[in-house]
Symmetry: C2
Subunit: 353 residues, 2 copies
């Protein structure tokens, strides 16, 4: 492991689509949807175990979740758990942590990852990460991962790669032609056929000097804020200063603020069983189905005359389901959801206060 | 209240048809299916509040449930909680408690009731009880209550009354023509049309000398056992003697052992919103339905696109149900049931270990 390698886990999400498994009090990244004994943020940290030293791992989260982060990842230095006083999307988040890391190590080579995705093939994931880090250690470009699409998904953004020529020093890496917003079904089907479109997994790899320069050029209203805070990083005054100035940042994604504008932007098409677990349906794809297409996560789940159901009830001693076809059933923390799978996009609305 | 009035609550049932709300560890009588804050045995005791003195109240239960009975009914004298060492149906149960009460008060006028039924019109119930007690205080007969049937139920036994002449001293009370086992649908429909058939609610009222004599005549193999234990009733030796001799009793219902054979048997047709809560469906009849025929018991239950469901989840902070028609959903003590209502007779089998 290179001591210049830093890992940033973005853990500020409040995801409500996975109710009742996730709630604003305990969003998806802090729960264990697979029933494996580790939460998503723990799994995220785990898969970088021999890619990045724990001492170089950072988490950016909201004030409300800082304690949960510390409980679930006790080996991460407390000073590396950065607290956003408010939600401002990913560009201010990445800017803050980049300046913060730069103050500590101007040679840092950084991976930024969401905290609530899953990866099934961790070995391939680590290989991809090492190749990516080697690339950004040398090249003054921002690298993003493009997930090989397996279906015309309309819930993800797409990255169009220029597959005509791979990079000289990294044969698996290509220049980005364009970033595409979440498409409709027809467009998604067109993307799939063209083979040069990949799902945008929201994972970035860059040298700290590259990202800081890119932010200075493309997002000066953000970079100027974190530039002026240089004297306080790592001091007792940092949090107060962040609380005062962070809210001034515009709320904007890193994709929109930087990636879509910058020239030196690259994509690494990869395939390691990735899912953002954005929906109950996407969880089902990752788990083993019985002969009737049911997925069950819980200690004692009994299905009779049922098919195509997702049953997720880790806290229930016993679940008996009879005569249910095509439903999500989820119990967590004394809340229960039963919903037709084709209506699952309504969950956060149905469960809202 | 007459100090000779005694109440016997039979609480030995292990009902499994209400899983997961009831389990062998905590059967139906000890839970609160209506969500009213009182368990069924507490409600049973409550509705005799000014009919029978608490000091004259008895509970017959199994060894395993004696502690729960004491916790839930702390005002009943501990010596009045009788422990059956094994299950022998209602005839030995009633024989034991009758001899036990006779040893204390040979003038006792006794009501015997199941512990897990509900009554909606408690005022009418009390009136019926007072009339019944006045009858058995004078008449040397066993009185049973006949519930006015509201549907051709096949889950209950029926009592055929001789409606040609009411008793001289109690105009609402009639002689019994016959006891009928649970009928099939055609027979049940015939019963309903004939107007002289009533549901057998398993509630008996008798003078202690009447029941003791009836048991001596019709069930000598049972009466001889409790007759020989006369010296130990109310002493420190009672439980050991019961543990030794009670298991010798045949397992037989009081209906079969006595009621169907005795001559002086009477029925009091009554109507006070009674249900034995034998099934989830029978619970639904007792609770208020929404416009779509749903019944919901729980602090925050939200139903969308759903009809004819019974949702029972007192321990869940929030339940969201979408797109479900004709199901029972029940959560209790970290166990969850989802079952088509027309399959609910399979519940105890589906949930069995």
């Amino acid at each position: 492991m290179d001591n210049n390698t830093h890992l940033v886990i973005m853990a500020g999400g409040i995801g409500s689509r996975f109710w009742p498994m996730s709630t604003p009090h305990k969003p998806k990244q802090f729960i264990d949807p697979l029933g494996c004994g580790r939460t998503l943020i723990q799994l995220t940290c785990d898969r970088f175990a021999d890619v990045c030293p724990m001492a170089n791992t950072w988490v950016v989260t909201s004030d409300a979740y800082a304690d949960i982060v510390h409980q679930q990842l006790p080996d991460i230095p407390v000073s590396h758990i950065l607290r956003e006083p408010c939600r401002r999307n990913t560009a201010p988040c990445i800017a803050y942590v980049s300046w913060r890391i730069k103050a500590e190590n101007p040679k840092a080579n950084i991976i930024v990852t969401p905290s609530d995705h899953i990866v099934m093939d961790v070995q391939e994931f680590k290989r991809v990460m090492r190749v990516a880090l080697a690339f950004t250690a040398e090249a003054d470009g921002i690298l993003t991962l493009g997930m090989q699409p397996t279906r015309p998904e309309t819930g993800y953004g797409y990255i169009q790669a220029d597959l005509s020529a791979a990079c000289v020093r990294a044969k698996e890496i290509y220049r980005v032609d364009a970033f595409r917003e979440k498409p409709n079904v027809e467009t998604a089907e067109k993307y799939i056929k063209q083979k040069s479109y990949f799902w945008n997994a929201g994972i970035f790899i860059f040298h700290v000097s590259t990202v800081v320069n890119a932010l200075r050029v493309y997002a000066p209203e953000i970079s100027s804020i974190f530039e002026q805070l240089l004297p306080v990083y790592g001091t007792a005054d940092e949090q107060a200063a962040i609380n005062q100035h962070f809210p001034k940042c515009p709320s904007i994604s890193f994709d929109y603020a930087v990636m879509e504008k910058a020239d030196e932007v690259f994509v690494f098409p990869a395939s390691f069983g990735w899912s953002d677990l954005g929906t109950w349906g996407s969880l089902q794809e990752q788990l083993t189905k019985d002969n009737n297409g049911n997925v069950a996560v819980g200690p004692d789940i009994r299905l009779y005359d049922s098919s195509d159901c997702i049953i997720h009830a880790l806290g229930e001693k016993r679940v008996v389901v009879q005569g249910l076809n095509g439903y999500v059933v989820a119990e967590h923390d004394n809340s229960l959801l039963i919903c037709r799978r084709d209506q699952e996009q309504r969950i956060s609305k149905l469960a809202a206060d």
